[in-house]
């Protein structure tokens, strides 16, 4: 035990490391395919995207060594400091940041740019873990709930101002963590219901939906509640209150949608819900990515053989739409393989997190799993046309040093915590 304690090499979960390198490797091949041109191929050419990404990947190794070098206690003790540092880096963007594509999300150092929001996720996860692992902390108290919300949504707030709404969405994933640690499920249920009502409002219009909801609720009341027995008690006030809340919500939804949303945001929803069709302008990306993926068939066209990939038909293919390369060149088998890899990774993280006797490690593990899960769901969902266009990267796959390093940081802090679980105390 003493020897192991001093040599974390034995505590590392090699399955996670293995999956990590598989994903990063597959990701780089996809970036290579999406950005290679026939002219002279040189892997370390910094003028090519695949060359740059290769450098980032290689630089991950010292990063990983540094992450593993720190004692796991370090992360718990300095979680708040790291969190504050990350908040400062986000705020600093408004002064020193560089505006790329309309969002002030980057620090630029020569030819290298860093996106602090990619790192903020890891530090927020640490801060949440630190907060929730306190022995005095009880999530049933509203005061504590609000504390947690502030820790989670403070960075989200700064990111929203950049504006980078896609990344903000990721912070909602912390509800899974809170729920695991005892927060009532009601928040998630109400959230999901709100999303469903929102989409239904867009589809059917507010007045029609209101009538529909009224009829459905009345039917439920009539069928189940009028007998005044069981768990639900018949209560006019509650029912009228419910009508009122839903009605207000529906009307405010349609107000926000029509008067607060930007047109391009509305378009994304409209296209997804089939309200309007457009394959040229706004729907172009999704249309092209669906076409490219469909054309892959069962086994794909083969590495470097995807004619849509090679023809650069899908915009942003090496970043947010990297999955189309997998779909087109590796087909159903390849893309299923990638999804299964991600699911395995998530299962393994949750499984390991549950084995932690230390609350901090478990909560951090949950944060990691939730963040990764949201990224995978939203990114692949967008690429295959079941989610609206929300620009967030696919972990370990998408081109970009900040995102790769951010996810590496997230994952390897957990691996470090996991390596020394059980004998650190």
């Amino acid at each position: 035990m003493r020897a192991e304690k001093n040599n974390i090499f034995y505590g590392i979960d090699w399955l996670l490391v293995f999956i990590y390198f598989l994903l990063v490797g597959f990701g780089w091949l996809s970036i290579y395919s999406a950005t290679v041109t026939d002219e002279n191929i040189s892997f370390f050419n910094l003028t090519t995207r695949y060359g740059k990404q290769l450098i980032w990947i290689i630089l991950c190794i010292p990063l990983i060594i540094i992450i593993l070098f720190f004692n796991s206690k370090f992360y718990e003790r300095y979680a708040s400091v790291l969190y504050l540092f990350s908040l400062l880096s986000l705020v600093g963007l408004f002064v020193f940041g560089k505006n790329i594509n309309g969002a002030q999300s980057w620090y630029s150092f020569g030819s290298v740019s860093l996106q602090p929001s990619e790192f903020a996720k890891a530090f927020t996860a640490l801060a949440v873990a630190k907060l929730l692992s306190d022995r005095q902390y009880n999530l049933d108290l509203l005061k504590n709930q609000i504390k947690a919300f502030i820790v989670i949504f403070l960075p989200a707030f700064f990111i929203a101002l950049q504006p980078d709404l896609g990344s903000v969405l990721i912070y909602l994933s912390f509800f899974f963590v809170l729920n695991r640690e005892g927060l009532t499920l009601n928040y998630i249920i109400i959230g999901v219901l709100a999303i469903i009502l929102f989409l239904l409002t867009l589809l059917f219009g507010s007045v029609q939906l209101l009538i529909g909801v009224f009829l459905v609720l009345s039917a439920i009341v009539y069928l189940f509640l009028r007998k005044n027995k069981g768990y639900f008690k018949f209560n006019w006030h509650k029912i009228l209150g419910l009508y009122l809340v839903i009605g207000l919500y529906i009307f405010s939804t349609s107000y926000i949608y029509n008067d607060v949303f930007e047109q391009h945001q509305r378009d994304r929803f409209d296209i997804l819900l089939g309200i309007s069709k457009d394959t040229k302008k706004i729907g172009y990306n999704t249309n092209q990515s669906i076409q490219a993926i469909s054309s892959g068939g069962i086994s794909g066209k083969g590495f470097l053989q995807g004619d849509r990939t090679q023809g650069n038909f899908v915009p942003e293919q090496d970043t947010d739409y990297i999955f189309t390369t997998v779909g087109e060149e590796w087909g159903f088998l390849g893309s299923t393989f990638v999804i299964v890899l991600f699911i395995l990774l998530l299962y393994r993280i949750i499984y390991l997190a549950e084995t932690h006797t230390n609350k901090f490690g478990r909560i951090y593990g949950y944060g990691l799993a939730s963040i990764l899960f949201f990224h995978v769901l939203i990114n692949i969902g967008m690429v295959i046309g079941i989610f609206p266009t929300i620009g967030i990267p696919l972990p370990f796959f998408s081109y970009g040093g900040s995102s790769l390093w951010g996810f590496t940081l997230l994952l390897f802090i957990f691996i470090r915590l996991d390596a020394s679980k059980g004998y650190e105390w």
Partner: protein, 627 residues
């Protein structure tokens, strides 16, 4: 519920949803993925040369010439020096804008024709500069060339595939040419060949980055096949010459095969008018509904006329077949035939044999109306009910190919009309009998036939009871056609034994009968002249116009090589115009030239113009047409 189950469950469900969607996209939808519909692949077409068309003697009728179209793909067009470009193309700036808009409206991502059929000099000049203008390219095409100004309506023309088809039929591109009339339309698939396809991989910016999959899907163009028509170009041209200044149709058929030797429609047009840059302007004139010449209207196929006296031969044959007359049966004629009690119920006759018995032979050669009226009444009255009688008669007539589409291999045609019992049952409130429609006896009344139908009847008579469906295609490449539709005889309902006496009588027409002045010493022609009344409604008043001049004939009588039907609109008696034209055509076909003794007839026919008569039909005062 354990708290960790929720995330496990949601992750699992999400995984299934994502994989399910991929299954839908890649396996269900992916199965019908087609490389030619792939936006990443540019298809380049190599247009084959369209087949040549020859006449039966190997004379070239239709050839090809090169033409260059300027094509445009609007979404690839980059800002350009419009002024210079317009001066290269010799168009105005407004015109440029209009053309560009039109192409854009058609489809931004599809090629469309920007400027048609560039002059050769312009092409050479433009070709060097075109690389500067992105989104424009030149498409080489073959367009038609007609060495002989003849047979325009038979040959037809090619035109651009229509927009709807170009957009919706993947086999066609805008600007592609397909046959749209005559032989060009009928045998388009043979003539067109198969275009070659080359698939090129391109990137999002439409830059070609190489051949798609090393060209494994590429195909080579297959040239169209040459075809040989049954037309005898010399006869055709000669017939067109004789029809100068006249309206009408002539159809000549080889009875032994059903091959159409000549299909003349007059007035016609120079087929070269439908080629090249003047085409649009020309076609407006040619297709103008106000143009009473109707040059695009094939009078050999599409015009229907009452057949007049030649139809008497069919009635005679039916009478013989039905046994209601024989060669000795005689009727009397008193300058006509009183078929009813009222004074108006009288049919006049020009046979000039008053009160003497007339037998079949004389009746045909002198074209006696009374004889055939009596015959017709006997045919109908043989059945105890006039409707049944009409049906029997109608069946015989239709067996000659009348009253319905003949089934020849040209896209235009008319059914004509041969009434049956039901036709009159529907139209007569009260009882009717053969005298109700007595005009049918002499080929007037309801009967309506086209020249080609009548030529076919003549061929059936020449063959003594059968015919081959007339056709225009003789060979594809070097192979003679073997379509049973055209190589198997069709039999009429008349027995062969009834024909010889009729044919003898038809010979008499050119010996001592209505056309005796055209008798030739060395060619025995059997024929029948006709004159069909026709009317036009002017200002609500039915007005009789000059009669149509009609003739059917075949020759030589004992070994028929040509059967012919001639209609000349408003030409008067059959013997005055149709008969000389027929005899000249027969002589031309059989002897290759007109004997010096008959040159005067030729000259007279060429010089004869009926234009003054046609002009009368235009009731509007002439002044209105001045400019």
């Amino acid at each position: 519920m354990k708290r960790n189950v929720l995330l496990y469950a949601i992750i699992s469900i999400t995984g299934l949803v994502l994989i399910g969607r991929l299954f839908q996209l890649q396996i269900i939808r992916g199965a019908d993925h087609n490389p030619s519909q792939n936006a990443a692949i540019k298809t380049v077409y190599d247009y084959p040369e369209r087949g040549y068309i020859y006449d039966r003697n190997g004379t070239l009728l239709v050839a090809n010439q090169l033409s260059y179209d300027v094509m445009i793909i609007p979404q690839e067009v980059k800002p350009l020096d419009t002024l210079e470009f317009c001066s290269l193309l010799k168009i105005t700036k407004e015109n440029f804008g209009k053309r560009f808009k039109k192409a854009e409206n058609y489809a931004r991502w599809l090629p469309s024709v920007f400027l048609k059929q560039l002059a050769k000099e312009d092409f050479a000049f433009l070709q060097e500069k075109l690389h500067k203008y992105k989104g424009f390219y030149i498409q080489k095409r073959n367009i038609r060339e007609y060495p002989i100004n003849s047979a325009a309506n038979v040959l037809g023309y090619i035109s651009e595939v229509n927009e709807w088809e170009a957009k919706n039929n993947p086999n066609f591109q805008q600007g592609e040419l397909i046959g749209s009339k005559g032989v060009e339309k009928e045998y388009d698939s043979i003539l067109r060949g198969i275009k070659g396809k080359k698939f090129l991989q391109r990137d999002r910016l439409n830059k070609i980055i190489g051949s798609y999959k090393n060209g494994i899907y590429d195909t080579l163009a297959v040239n169209g096949s040459d075809i040989t028509l049954t037309i005898d170009s010399e006869l055709q041209q000669y017939g067109e010459l004789l029809m100068k200044g006249k309206r009408g149709g002539i159809v000549a058929i080889e009875p032994k095969t059903g091959e159409i030797l000549a299909l003349i429609s007059s007035p016609s047009y120079n087929p070269n008018m439908m080629v090249g840059r003047q085409r649009a302007a020309n076609s407006v004139v040619l297709m103008d509904p106000e143009n009473l010449d109707k040059p695009m209207f094939d009078r050999g196929l599409q015009a229907t006329y009452p057949p007049g006296s030649p139809f008497k031969i069919i009635n005679a044959l039916i009478g013989l077949q039905e046994g209601v007359i024989n060669h000795n049966t005689h009727f009397y004629c008193y300058n006509g035939f009183q078929y009813g009690k009222r004074k108006s119920e009288f049919m006049g006759c020009h046979c000039e044999i008053y009160g003497k018995p007339i037998r079949l032979h004389t009746a045909i050669s002198k074209s006696c109306n009374s004889y055939f009226s009596n015959t017709y009444i006997r045919i109908i009255d043989k059945y105890n009910n006039p409707s049944k009688g009409m049906d029997a008669w109608s069946k015989h007539v239709k067996s000659f190919g009348l009253g319905n589409y003949l089934g020849y291999d040209l896209p235009d045609g008319k059914k004509g009309l041969i009434p049956n019992g039901k036709y009159y049952d529907d139209r007569n409130k009260y009882a009717w009998g053969p005298t109700t429609n007595i005009s049918n006896a002499i080929g007037q009344g309801e009967i309506d036939t086209s020249p080609i139908q009548l030529a076919n009847v003549t061929a059936a008579i020449a063959n003594k009871g059968y015919f081959y469906t007339p056709h225009i295609l003789k060979k594809v490449g070097k192979n003679a056609i073997n379509n049973p539709k055209f190589t198997k005889p069709k039999y009429t309902t008349i027995d062969a034994k009834h024909f010889p006496p009729i044919i003898d009588a038809m010979e008499e027409v050119f010996e001592t009968g209505t056309a005796k002045w055209l008798k030739m010493e060395d060619i025995a022609i059997a024929g029948k002249t006709g004159t069909a009344e026709n009317f036009v409604i002017v200002d609500g008043v039915k007005k009789q116009l000059d009669d149509h001049s009609i003739l059917i004939a075949f020759a030589p009588k004992d070994n028929p090589k040509i059967a012919i039907a001639v209609f000349v609109e408003n030409g008067g008696y059959g013997s005055t115009i149709a008969a000389p034209i027929t005899s000249l055509l027969v002589e031309k076909y059989l002897k290759k030239e007109i004997s010096s003794k008959r040159k005067w007839i030729e000259k007279r026919m060429i010089d004869l113009s009926l234009q003054d008569i046609y002009n009368q039909k235009i009731k509007k005062p002439k002044e209105e047409f001045k400019d």
